[in-house]
Symmetry: D2
């Protein structure tokens, strides 16, 4: 039987992609679309079992309190969570121990897997660098994901007691060797036509391993959200980040 899903923020750019994704999935049934001015009662009236929330920091806590209190599981991509908010959500969950809540900063499965695989591979390769590619309208360089990937690699290397990455460069044009994130070089390419892409390269004797993630459009978060929707009822309490949902 299909899981009954409500989408909060259903008419936003992200929310409407989630609506399309739920509608396209045979094992999911869209029972409520809630947006500003709509009452959350729509969720209970229509029997939503799981909600997806891509709204705003200003409204998400009210939404979560309502859902948890009514025994509705929640998959949340809204930003603005800090330790205080996580603590509040955990408190609500303790009152309703059967309810699952997943809050994740990144639902792009390929990006989450890339970061996880990078951490796993890091201890076994002398060298590691990250190259990210984005459209030229992006304001920051490198991307937050690339920085986080490099930090994960650096941490895994430290934990394994590895030496610094070898680099005999003596004469370099300024910037050619990228930026240094905890000892891992990161390069940012800006390219008209591209969307969002990341390549993590590892090398050791006579071999390299490359993990590459390509986003071709704006709805790459949808499969991760649906993965969350399908599993959240089996994972009571608060989960932060998609990793455990991906078996990582």
């Amino acid at each position: 039987m299909a899981i009954k899903v409500g989408v909060i923020g259903a008419r936003g750019r992200v929310g409407s992609a989630v609506v399309d994704g739920v509608n396209a999935a045979e094992d999911l049934e869209l029972v409520a679309e809630v947006d500003q001015d709509d009452s959350l009662e729509l969720l209970t009236e229509n029997g939503a079992e799981v909600i997806v929330d891509f709204t705003t920091p200003g409204s998400v806590m009210d939404n979560l309190e309502f859902c948890i209190n009514h025994g509705i599981h929640a998959v949340v991509g809204t930003t603005g969570f800090d330790d205080e908010r996580y603590g509040q959500v955990r408190e609500w969950c303790e009152e309703k121990p059967s309810v699952g809540v997943l809050i994740a900063p990144n639902f792009a499965i390929s990006a989450v897997l890339t970061m996880a695989f990078a951490r796993q591979a890091a201890p076994f390769f002398e060298s590691a660098e990250v190259v990210e590619y984005h459209h030229p309208h992006k304001l920051d360089a490198p991307s937050g994901t690339a920085v986080k990937t490099a930090q994960g690699i650096a941490e895994a290397r430290r934990d394994a007691g590895m030496d610094a990455i070898p680099d005999a460069t003596e004469q370099a044009l300024e910037g050619s060797r990228g930026t240094d994130v905890d000892g891992v070089k990161v390069h940012a390419v800006r390219m008209t036509g591209m969307v969002a892409h990341e390549e993590v390269i590892f090398g050791t004797q006579d071999q390299s391993l490359t993990i590459r993630q390509d986003s071709y459009g704006r709805t790459s978060f949808v499969p991760g959200v649906l993965t969350g929707v399908r599993q959240v009822a089996d994972r009571p309490g608060l989960t932060i980040g998609l990793d455990s949902y991906l078996g990582l």
Copy 2:
């Protein structure tokens, strides 16, 4: 203090690359090079703590019996092992419970990780295909590694209860869609100048994940062997395959 290493088959092509690798590693000390006509006593006389065996199916069992009996750990890349041989090694290990033996068919870390990551990623992507690239002197197509990778993906998809990979192809030139390995398409490219390369591509809504392994030369197994040498004393009994040594 450096681990004392003996290499059996030290003058073969593979063995001599292992010798070079041990000599280059600061935490390892080469204490014995054994080849045909040399006595295994060289190992005990020189205090070898770990041996590496890349010899022949005809000699490897005698080597292992000797080493295990003398409390020497063993890292083995020699071929020809079957259940009977594994059983025999386990018996010897039971007599000497502190001794570790690692027998692995593939010591190329990047290839082993590629296969493991492919199995992990498989349940989260609608599509998956494998493309391998080798020099044109290779006799078989696709490579055994590519077939094994595809089988791992297929098994992970079955375990997750996934549908068949979508493919609307109605008109195809014969062979253009590759060969079908348990429902996963595999393509083999043969290219002068290349060595051995494998690309696993996963796709789902608006994104893809690519895991690529490149071997640039003939000594890509060395880092995997040294990883084995460093860990084998801490892993008593028989271990088959490098996976657990890589934290997989």
Copy 3:
């Protein structure tokens, strides 16, 4: 001063992307949008110097006759041209020798360059193969572009008197080595999330050259059309294909 452009078929999917492209270009001015039921007089009334035609085989010839007769240059992506139609267009052009007409089957610059570079590179590499990647809804395999690319490589090799591509394969799973297009192997990958991508790989001693074309969306033809619009007035008579416009 900006070139005055009219778009015929302006409300179709392709035409409206051309309209957007012309509007975004500082050196072009959109003066007329013509679609079904509109009179072609809109073009002359508004002083169009160049038209773009993405319509249907049923209407394109009337459009061309009108434009050429009125001294308006034309950039045409409509399909259905054969030798008879080309002959007719040439006749009209002879009457108006200052008018330029560009008719091209493919306006994706990256694809046209890939094919041209592949022909140029082909004589200098022992090996060549083509791998194309498309979304899984595509009905044919391999893509027409990939077949044409392979044919161009094969022809360049024949012209250079080259031997067959080396391939020692003796045992192959059926289909693993791709389809054979005039002696050049072509592989087709189908992958959810991908759009349209082609990779041409050349190899010779200790090196390879890869030319890769990625289409990330449905408007990749626009830059080629605008290149045509900018140059067509300087290239009187009929030109078939974008190649000479790209300096090839």
Copy 4:
């Protein structure tokens, strides 16, 4: 009938790879191997029609004077040529107008084609960047080839009157956006296991074009040298650079 080839500097690392290449080619016959202490008379005595010179700046001019005077064509990879030396070679060639001399700084065909294709493609893409990958023992960054490639792109853009490459970056970690070579960003990756690789990426609306060159070993110059040997007799006078030999 096979072309009779002499190799000067035959026992050097590069020269001996040329010797192997000539021996492996059915249309070429190795008739003389000359090294230090050998007399150049070996070339005339054995009827060399073409020589290959990979020696030193100190000896190459004497070698060329001898060969040109004796009507022997020359393919030269030795470094240290400047305008004065080119002028001297041209003078000698004027005395022997049937003799061809090719002097090239780079015989790696894939690298020469990559640079040429990059210049050809540059005018048709809004964005262009270069990423090069080398082993970590390299002392300079980026590679000379990458700098030259970027300069070629920059020149082609200037000739076409193009605007600056779009880049909205406002907040960048230092070095993340690479080094700026005449307005084209260049990134250098250093990776154990890799040899020498270069990727040129172009992007415009909804598409990208990537030209990638991989060197897998130290003899990647050999096919370019043999191409020179085969064509030099048909190209009298001094030619600088392999480009025209590749039809560029």
